[in-house]
Symmetry: C2
């Protein structure tokens, strides 16, 4: 949630003129997205979002992200639709950064999701998986099981600064996951970061999915495990079975989970919790002096992980 | 430029329902205004700005600011127009802060103002002075000459940390201004902070004035002196006579300056430069640890002040 790059009005006007979206009337830096700078543009044609890609997004991944949003939007998914330049290209440069313009989506993230919200997210996630099935792009998930050990080693024994014993507990969980992680589940494009910030609602109606900058190819059921972690726990750390049931039912109303996916669900939930715990832990231990953003609490995901270590079957998550 | 207060979707929806502006479709925290939190709202009726007043704005001043914007908008000035609640009141409360909704204005601040921009600002400033002449509210300018010595004493000898000799030079200028400051110039409502951030343009057409949270009653020509300081110097510290001429001509095309105002102009320019130098100096010397905002350079205004110390008549600023 930040605006990192300041763009002058002259630069912006010249930039907008390379698109066929009318004349710029207003541009407001908005507090949206952690990784990039975002502006809400008003032009004589309508409203758009201008994104400037900051250094945490790799330039070589941008064609995958932009191409995916285009593909999904064409399939009818409500996600930001990239707007081409007059030249036909989708990516440009502004203020020394790669930049793109996408359509503006109404809606707001929910702070306290209800079971109805969770059901809608389950449906939308399955729609995303279905719509992405024939997308030609490919991007390895750098934050799947093979990426966890390097993160764990980066944190190392300093993990115990956050919670005494965290290092040993994490190593044990990691070793178990490395041994058991399945590599033959139905796969395709996943969002990989479908947190409440990235799903817009108008009331209880889901109005759009945003922020595809972690999207990659991986097991669909792993994406669902990420969502169960992100949406179905209460602030006190308890798992809300009603929300879990709603999300799983919503997902299965569009795409039925196969036996191997159902079998793997508790393990996938453990992996998803570990993945977010580890990235948060590394961020937590590496806050630069004078940082503008307070890192997220890794222990939130440690508590979720502990819940998952007790889970034995998909029934424990509300699968009927 | 900040969003200080985070508002939940439920709170926001309930809040919006107390206004007759339709249902909320979207709310984006925007990077606008240094003192308050601002959200750009999209509702089924249109676009609005929601402002949450943070602690630097005194609650007892809010009726003056809101009433003034209402008054000026009714007189045809393009400024944000406060939107009443269904109850008829203009001020509400959200997330523990006083809050108001105003109409959305198109346009953008200019980074490199041209003489045409300066002329338009001169005209708009005179229109603001004329439109505010019969406004009933009254607010003392706490940052006029009587307020400068307390600021100077707050900085004290630490001024020399910023520039050796700054303490003695500032004291000398301050003493001169305290002796000579006029108290009988034509007065009324002034904006008091009409910097390029606070004036919107679409191309070279001025589309609106914003941020009335320093507005107060004071000499109109002092407001003009603030604008000459804010708009007519180049980045290298030189005074751009063409821009000064354009601003003064723009102003006088709407409201002619009287002989006493013309006589006082160099002194008022000195005072305006000192006022911004002093507030910046105090901010500079009191940056809290972990501050999110880098304070503005007080020496920019010291250099302007030095220019003004050489000015003898309004001719030196481009008055024809």
């Amino acid at each position: 949630m930040a605006v990192y790059t300041d763009v002058s009005d002259d630069e912006l006007t010249a930039f907008i003129n390379t698109y066929a979206i009318g004349d710029v009337l207003s541009a407001k830096g908005i507090a949206e997205g952690v990784e990039n700078s975002n502006y809400l543009l008003h032009t004589t044609e309508g409203f758009y979002i201008l994104t400037l890609y900051e250094k945490r997004v790799r330039e070589e991944d941008l064609p995958f992200f932009i191409g995916l949003m285009q593909h999904l939007a064409q399939k009818g998914l409500t996600c930001p639709q990239p707007v081409p330049l007059r030249s036909g290209e989708m990516l440009s440069t502004l203020a020394g950064r790669k930049a793109a313009i996408v359509t503006f989506l109404d809606g707001m993230g929910v702070k306290r999701p209800s079971a109805r919200h969770c059901q809608a997210v389950g449906e939308a996630l399955a729609q995303l998986h279905a719509a992405g099935a024939d997308f030609k792009g490919h991007r390895v998930n750098a934050l799947s099981v093979a990426g966890w050990r390097p993160l764990f080693e980066q944190a190392g024994h300093r993990a115990d600064e956050v919670l005494p014993g965290l290092y040993d507990m994490t190593r044990e969980v990691l070793e178990g996951l490395e041994t058991q992680w399945p590599d033959d589940l139905p796969s395709g494009v996943i969002h990989a970061d479908l947190f409440p910030d990235n799903v817009f609602f108008i009331g209880e109606r889901l109005s759009g999915l945003i922020d595809f900058y972690f999207a990659c190819n991986d097991a669909w059921a792993y994406d669902l495990a990420i969502c169960l972690n992100a949406w179905c726990f209460e602030q006190d750390g308890s798992y809300n079975m009603t929300k879990g049931q709603a999300m799983l039912a919503g997902y299965q109303s569009i795409r039925a989970l196969g036996p191997a996916e159902i079998e793997a669900l508790p393990l996938l939930c453990r992996g998803a919790a570990l993945r977010f715990m580890l990235t948060r832990l590394v961020d937590w231990l590496n806050v630069p002096a004078g940082a503008l953003v307070r890192p997220k609490d890794p222990l939130e995901y440690f508590r979720k992980l502990r819940f998952h270590l007790r889970g034995e079957s998909a029934r424990d998550y509300g699968l009927s």
